[in-house]
């Protein structure tokens, strides 16, 4: 069994200043443990932002974080993310299916050829029957394994599935309600849990939660609610290249960023998510590593296009985009952000060639506002909904105050309606027309462009209004609609990327939202942590990571 050690036992970094040592040496000698902790050779200890262990039965709860630490560690999907490279947007790759194709006639019938020789953690074999059983678990209310808890988590991913069946022992056919070229991005989120384990435990999902069985590279040994999950290497994982380098991985729930930082600096954990931005130099001066990379994240203001909203005027939308000193904001964030040029990052296959260059240009912003009849003396008045914290929200309060000043300087006077994260999500999910959103001209809800639907098609297509889509403010543009509709049914990935790039360029040229910065996904690692590759993704692969 894995045990935890302090940095002293690990031979961690020395104190940063000799004078501190001199002053505190006597106290250290008195308090230091007399015996060291025993510890297996390779344990990776992770400090998560989560306050609790996500649902372990298959469809992980708690959003991207839950999927990152439980969904992708214990389970596989038919299609997996390729998280092995830092220099490109994470693509899809074969998972439990070795290949898939769509019927060229109907464009709705998908055939998945399954990987042979794959075993669940309980030793049972993965096959077409397992896939059907798992889809029944999420879609067939009369099936004994139907599990509302997992259905809730899988909602966005199964919506377009009309039917499914096994063609033979290793081939599965799934039919979608409409032609949908984005379907593979939905399949990547459907985890395959073991029917055998569920049956062994009397069909009780709460028992399965304690002893889950997937096909993933890690096996859950123990989960202590609100404290930690202990995972063991799946030595027989079907992909030899992803057999974990560490024998054990301990995932600890440390939601407070300062507490995570102290756990890292004191050597209690080896790898933490989201260190506080102002601690970066402290971490580096302690000889530890801070790893960053772009990923599909944008910190924007999604805008209202209701008749009373000032942002119906493209001049005001463009002015707002030009009024923000993004470099100054990045400095405020300790360098842990990238100034935005649109929804996606420059260099991304979907960036395209927008003509509107988003930058800090207050003079042009003022000119645009003057043209629209406004000035600092006669400002545009707008109200934004913002949150105090939340997943992907970075440092929302200081960031919003910074931007508020920027906007005021050019003649846009913004007031905030501040609420907690869950309240903000509910306000976003309701769409701008919801009664409790009355008077709101924008919402500061961080966004992902992990897949074409959530990032571009679902936000820009006028028919994709909530709850079916993500077009919160009612943006409506004939050219964007046409591109979104075509991208949705373009099954050639290269051609689809081209359409998405055109769509993105159109969104930027229309200044659909106010795009501010992209988070750089900081992770802090102990000095002796090796092998970590920060993928350009919300998800990360910890199988190549080892300590020592």
């Amino acid at each position: 069994m894995a045990t935890e050690a302090t940095g002293a036992d690990r031979g961690g970094h020395s104190m940063t200043r000799l004078s501190r040592r001199a002053v505190m040496g006597a106290a250290a000698a008195a308090l230091a443990p007399r015996t060291g902790f025993s510890e297996p050779a390779s344990v990776l200890r992770v400090g998560m932002t989560l306050a609790d262990i996500p649902l372990t039965t298959g469809q992980a709860s708690q959003g991207g974080e839950g999927q990152r630490f439980i969904g992708l560690t214990l389970y596989d999907a038919l299609i997996n993310w390729d998280l092995s490279h830092a220099d490109r947007a994470a693509p899809l790759q074969p998972g439990l299916a070795t290949s898939w194709s769509v019927d060229p006639e109907t464009k709705t019938v998908w055939t998945f050829h399954l990987r042979s020789g794959v075993k669940f953690h309980d030793g049972s074999s993965f096959n077409a029957e397992s896939v059907i059983w798992n889809l029944d678990k999420l879609m067939k209310k009369t099936s004994p394994q139907y599990d509302q808890a997992q259905v809730t988590q899988s909602g966005p991913w199964i919506g377009t599935t009309a039917s499914y069946r096994a063609l033979d022992d290793m081939t599965v056919q799934i039919v979608t309600t409409l032609p949908d070229a984005v379907f593979p991005y939905q399949v990547v989120n459907i985890s395959m849990s073991s029917p055998t384990r569920w049956k062994e435990l009397g069909g009780d999902w709460s028992k399965v939660a304690e002893h889950p069985s997937g096909t993933g590279p890690w096996i859950l040994e123990k989960a202590v609610p609100r404290d930690r999950a202990e995972l063991r290497r799946n030595a027989g994982y079907w992909d030899p290249g992803r057999v974990p380098k560490s024998e054990h991985m301990i995932l600890r729930c440390i939601p407070d960023s300062t507490t995570r930082l102290s756990a890292l600096l004191s050597g209690q954990v080896d790898w933490i998510e989201a260190p506080p931005p102002d601690a970066v130099s402290q971490i580096r001066s302690a000889g530890m590593q801070v790893v960053t990379n772009v990923y599909p994240h944008i910190w924007p203001y999604q805008l209202s296009f209701l008749p009373e909203s000032p942002f119906r005027d493209i001049r005001i939308r463009k002015a707002a985009n030009l009024a923000i000193d993004r470099d100054g904001l990045v400095k405020l964030l300790g360098g842990l952000a990238l100034p935005a040029k649109g929804m996606v990052t420059p260099g991304h296959p979907w960036f395209g060639k927008p003509t509107f260059d988003i930058k800090y240009d207050p003079d042009t912003a003022k000119a645009l506002l003057k043209d629209a009849g406004y000035s600092p003396d006669k400002p545009v008045k707008a109200k934004f909904l913002i949150s105090t914290s939340g997943s992907g929200q970075m440092q929302p309060l200081p960031m919003n105050e910074f931007i508020q000043e920027n906007l005021k300087e050019v003649g846009i006077e913004v007031s905030f309606d501040t609420m907690d994260w869950e309240a903000l999500r509910a306000r976003r999910r309701g769409g701008v027309e919801a009664s409790d959103n009355k008077g709101a001209d924008g919402i500061n809800n961080s966004w992902s462009f992990t897949d074409p639907d959530i990032g571009l098609i679902g936000t820009a297509w006028s028919k994709k209004r909530p709850p079916g889509g993500y077009n919160w403010g009612g943006f409506s543009d004939a050219e964007a609609d046409d591109l979104a509709a075509r991208a949705k049914v373009e099954f050639d990935p290269a051609k689809q990327n081209e359409l998405l790039a055109q769509l993105h360029a159109r969104m930027v040229d229309q200044a659909m939202w106010i795009w501010v910065v992209h988070d750089l996904n900081p992770r802090a690692l102990g000095a002796n942590v090796k092998g970590y590759v920060e993928a350009q993704s919300w998800f990360q692969d910890l199988t190549p990571v080892s300590v020592g």
Partner: protein, 317 residues
């Protein structure tokens, strides 16, 4: 005395029911949707309605409250929306973890506070008195989460002498009285102990000084009683109000400290409440609050009874 205890026990029932009503109302007055944290990103109205119905949130509030209260009377506190575990299975270990921390902090805090208060109260040296008063004011005034962070920086990060956070070494489900477990307890318990230590040091000092000035003390001295006997008389007379303060402090610590438990990643009731609030987990929030409120009320009841046993004047009043 028995009748008094029975009467006080009966008084606690409406207090607890009142707490449940206030708690239930406040939680539902807060903006936002109770199931928002578990809804899929693009949940259709049908899915929202189904999930609301599954948790009973589709009923009018009074009906929701009465149903919840009925289940609570049967010992069923419901199921957590976020984790799908029973609220009891969430709250019981959290209460145990907080109790461990609170009892340790109480032992530390009471011992330090009473000792320092007595020293200051009986000392005729201004320097001693001033020093203890300064400690007491610091203990009460310094935000304990800030103190916790400073202690972590000094003892965990700089000295590497104690663990920064967590309840114990990995690999164990329960807290054991091993050296490793005890080391994890030191910093959070010492942080939490500062408040009761400060409060008690100040209160004991004040009560002792006040009691020493009373005429009966002069009489005892005039009758030729030894210093120890006089000391004991003073302590006994000063004890009832101190006991009440100790009870309140104990109950407050048992309630858990959201900030300290968050700083030390200690999975107690404070940590649980923080998570429940952040995720709008109403069944968990209600279950935790009702258990904590009951603890608070019962602790006060025990203190009242003890006070009555020690000081008959209280009973007569």
């Amino acid at each position: 005395m028995h009748l008094y205890i029975l009467r006080r026990l009966l008084y606690t029932l409406p207090i607890i029911v009142g707490v449940t009503i206030v708690c239930f109302s406040f939680i539902h007055l807060a903006p936002g949707d109770p199931i928002s944290a578990v809804l899929p990103e693009n949940a259709s109205p049908q899915v929202v309605a189904e999930i609301k119905a599954a948790y009973g949130f589709d009923k009018p509030l009074p009906i929701q409250y009465l149903k919840w209260l009925g289940h609570v009377m049967e010992g069923d506190f419901g199921t957590s929306i976020m984790t799908h575990r029973s609220v009891v299975s969430e709250v019981v270990p959290a209460v145990a973890n907080t109790a461990l921390l609170a009892v340790t902090a109480i032992l530390l805090g009471f011992t330090a506070g009473i000792s320092l208060g007595l020293i200051a109260g009986f000392s005729d040296r201004r320097m001693t008195d001033r020093s203890v008063t300064a400690f007491a004011v610091a203990g009460i005034s310094i935000p304990h989460y800030w103190l916790g962070m400073v202690m972590v920086v000094v003892f965990a990060v700089l000295l590497r002498a104690l663990p920064a956070n967590g309840m114990g070494p990995a690999g164990t489900d329960i807290w054991l009285f091993t050296a490793d477990d005890l080391r994890h307890l030191v910093l959070p318990a010492a942080t939490l102990a500062m408040i009761p230590a400060g409060v008690l040091a100040r209160s004991v000092r004040a009560m002792v000084i006040e009691t020493r000035r009373q005429e009966f003390v002069q009489t005892l001295r005039g009758k030729g009683l030894g210093r120890l006997r006089v000391f004991l008389h003073i302590v006994k007379n000063a004890a009832p109000p101190i006991l009440a303060i100790m009870g309140l402090q104990f109950a407050q610590l048992l309630g858990g400290s959201i900030l300290v438990e968050t700083v030390f990643a200690w999975p107690g009731t404070g940590f649980l409440l923080n998570a429940a609030i952040a995720t709008r987990d109403l069944p968990l929030l209600q279950g935790t609050v009702i258990v904590l409120a009951t603890f608070f009320v019962l602790t006060n009841l025990v203190v009242d009874i003890l006070q009555t046993a020690i000081d008959p004047r209280v009973r007569r009043a």
